[in-house]
Symmetry: C2
């Protein structure tokens, strides 16, 4: 791993030992990492595939309270030092990477579920709570937290909110933002403020809750998150439908959605390359000998009869659309097993240790079938091996690419930018955009202008300036500097 | 009606005949109203109860395209003239009232459903489409637009988006914002920009779609709105539950939500005063001789069996909670009839022609039972007659008050500000806020600081400035001037 720091003496000032002493006084010396490149290396990257550049922070701090974070941001403004907030580091666009060095602010110690308010069907959590921990805690009360990113066992709620994480159940349940009712936020200038609350409706001023959601740590640091909970669905079922061809599987998706007259809780697609990799990673055999693609469809509801009716409708539609067979899982254990290959594909990619790119474009639902051959052809033309999979009923398709054998590292590196430019142009041409759930972060900054008008990018800069006049909070992310 | 104009020669310049000529060249002379106070009077107010001050615009323009609106805003910046955008004028907080005179920009001619995209389950509309027209157009295709403000037969989609309108079905379906996937917007500075698109997920930059939603016409003028449609529920039922006491009815609401383990599509409450007024307005008799309050509960779903199961669960819970009886409507005609008193209560109030106040506070669900006696006692202490009703499963309670006989107009006017201050303080004290769906508009500007921190109000001003540096778009709304 090459460790690079981008010092920007023109813009930002270095973290001196005196500043480290001040930070230690704020958060406690044992919650500061300084002059220890080995321990700091963990904070120098996230899980973005293909971002080889790793940016070491100058100092890592682990505050425990909003008040401490406020003091850190005030110090950073006074001294003009960049602050990069960080959750679990499971992001896929480099958003938590300290590209200008400075202070890395980890929320890992802020990991308490502060309140399960069963009367109001609300949870209040700190940003460092692992998403799955919240899910399990509320399940014990017959409740349901609908956020379901594939990294659910690792990622933090704070990161989910910062990225407006999507995941497997967005087609029915929406993305993270739908469940965020309120936030306590430390503004970049140090004020501790409340946006929203335990309220299902709120039009008292601008919707700053949802401006914060998805702002990728550039507009404020969340210190409390108020989430809406739902009653747990009482029944669910997963259908696994293997297909003999990827195009048949993908063409089934809009049909099932349009003709089914119901909204599944998930529709996941995997092409052959993705299936092969994921099943192999888990040491399992493919679900059908002729399978060259699969759809995983989940339904849920408040009665077994309702779920059975949905399941039957979907099974009929999938068979009509060319499924080779339908496997049904309707116990928690079988459902979990059927989800596993899809959930674990990210880990399977990481385990390969080869150079790769992970994209998550989104297009209008009906453009998903024409998108697939575009992706396949494009990867081929750049001599990349393509893996297509994703939350296709949202129009959200993941494309993972790797260098084909024989492509040199130099050729791969040279091809990347041209490939991404080409890819994003085509996706935008289909009415889509360059990221559905992973974010712009650092990785996609050079490409933002392919998706957004200059006037809209200029507006982003003015909004950022309204929050963070000295640009100390997570600089270098989301949009390019002027 | 007293017609008042607030000229602000210090801040804004007057609309001269030369400017009117320029506006006429942009939109066509027949789409301009000038020097005609009688025709302009319709544009000088909205439906806010108790806002007696009526502000006459200097000129009314009715553009037909984004390009025309862009030219108008550029002219307004050049000449420093305020522009107040206006939908149907059915707002309840004075948001479309031209408090600084200037240009009233009506979107009434932009009333086309541009596209019903059945493949993508999306509608593209202009801002002047009446909400009910969209609902009916999509129903014909087995689809469902979930927005359901009580003024659905009058209000425009553009106004729904500007106010983030709530309404009857928000507890299950969320408010208007959930369905807004994309917007074409003319910025206050004249640029025509696109936010979002026909996409269910999008994390490409800040969520400017939802910053625009609920911004009450202060950050931009919508010219196209992309809305998500759902498959129509195939079955529904309405339960009308009369109760012998308001407190029994209201106490049932959190119980039904917490114990029912399902989410009704609507839960509406009416106290005795509201019932009496609404049923009387419609020439109908009350549903039960002993009824002193009622709950209207709606459920829907994709199968009759599912809806029947929900209906039975709810009926049992309502009877357990003290309902005198349960009346069930499960045909479109009976359902419509059962909704009517609730839908028409606004018109019933307007028909009275007496001075009144209409409030729509929101509190956490579990605070709805303690809120009711607070509202009743507070109204009494100010010698006002109280009508309590609303979307109580959202925690959104409407309080309508009128002067009791014997209270003079002077005493009423003197009491209003003190009453609202007292009311809002108590609501905020319960973890609530001052408006759940009507907005701050002009009416609640003096009270915003009761709900939001000074740092949050300052942030509103900086965001507004980022969009509208000369403050020409809908000035005087949402937050107080510095």
């Amino acid at each position: 791993m090459t460790i690079i720091r981008t010092p920007s003496p023109d813009v930002y000032c270095p973290v001196t030992p005196a500043i480290v002493a001040e930070l230690s006084a704020i958060v406690g010396a044992k919650n500061v990492i300084y002059a220890d490149p080995e321990r700091m290396a963990d904070y120098a990257h996230d899980e973005t595939a293909g971002v080889y550049e790793t940016y070491l922070p100058e100092v890592v701090v682990k505050p425990a309270t909003a008040e401490e974070i406020s003091q850190i941001t005030r110090l950073a403004n006074r001294e003009r030092i960049p602050v990069t907030p960080r959750g679990a580091g499971s992001g896929l666009s480099g958003g938590a990477t300290p590209v200008y060095g400075g202070i890395l602010l980890s929320v890992e110690r802020m990991n308490r579920i502060l309140e399960l308010d069963l009367e109001n069907l609300v949870a209040v959590v700190e940003p460092g709570v692992v998403t799955n921990e919240l899910s399990e805690a509320v399940q014990a009360h017959g409740l349901f937290y609908a956020g379901y990113p594939m990294s659910v066992e690792l990622c933090f709620i704070g990161g989910n909110v910062a990225e407006n994480a999507g995941g497997g159940r967005a087609v029915k349940y929406g993305v993270t933002g739908r469940y965020v009712l309120g936030l306590e936020v430390v503004l970049p200038t140090g004020e501790i403020v409340q946006f929203g609350g335990k309220r299902l409706k709120d039009v008292t001023g601008y919707d700053l809750v949802h401006l914060m959601v998805g702002s990728e740590g550039t507009l404020g640091i969340f210190t409390k998150i108020i989430l809406r909970l739902l009653p747990s669905p009482l029944a669910s079922a997963v259908l696994l439908a293997p297909f003999a061809a990827a195009q048949t599987a993908i063409a089934a998706v809009p049909q099932v959605i349009q003709r089914g007259h119901l909204i599944p809780s998930a529709v996941e697609f995997m092409d052959y390359a993705s299936m092969e990799l994921a099943y192999d990673f888990l040491g399992e055999k493919l679900p059908h000998p002729k399978a060259r693609a699969l759809l995983l469809v989940e339904v849920d509801g408040y009665s077994p009869a309702e779920v059975e009716a949905q399941r039957n409708t979907l099974a009929d539609l999938l068979l009509e659309a060319g499924a080779l067979d339908i496997y049904v899982g309707d116990t928690p254990a079988t459902e979990k097993k059927m989800w596993r290959p899809r959930q674990k594909i990210g880990e399977a990619f990481s385990a390969l240790g080869v150079e790769q790119l992970d994209e998550d474009m989104v297009v209008p639902l009906a453009q998903i079938p024409p998108l697939l051959p575009v992706l396949e052809q494009l990867a081929r033309s750049y001599r990349m091996k393509a893996f297509c999979f994703g939350h296709v009923a949202d129009g959200n398709m993941h494309l993972h690419t790797m260098a084909e054998p024989g492509l040199t590292a130099e050729a791969w590196n040279a091809a990347k930018a041209a490939f991404l430019t080409d890819l994003y142009r085509r996706v935008v041409g289909l009415g889509g955009t360059i990221s559905g759930e992973h974010g712009i972060g650092f990785k996609r900054v050079p490409y933002l202008a392919l998706a957004l008008d200059p006037a809209v990018i200029a507006l982003h800069r003015r909004i950022k300036h309204a929050f963070d006049p000295l640009n100390i909070l997570n600089p270098g992310k989301v949009f390019p500097a002027e």
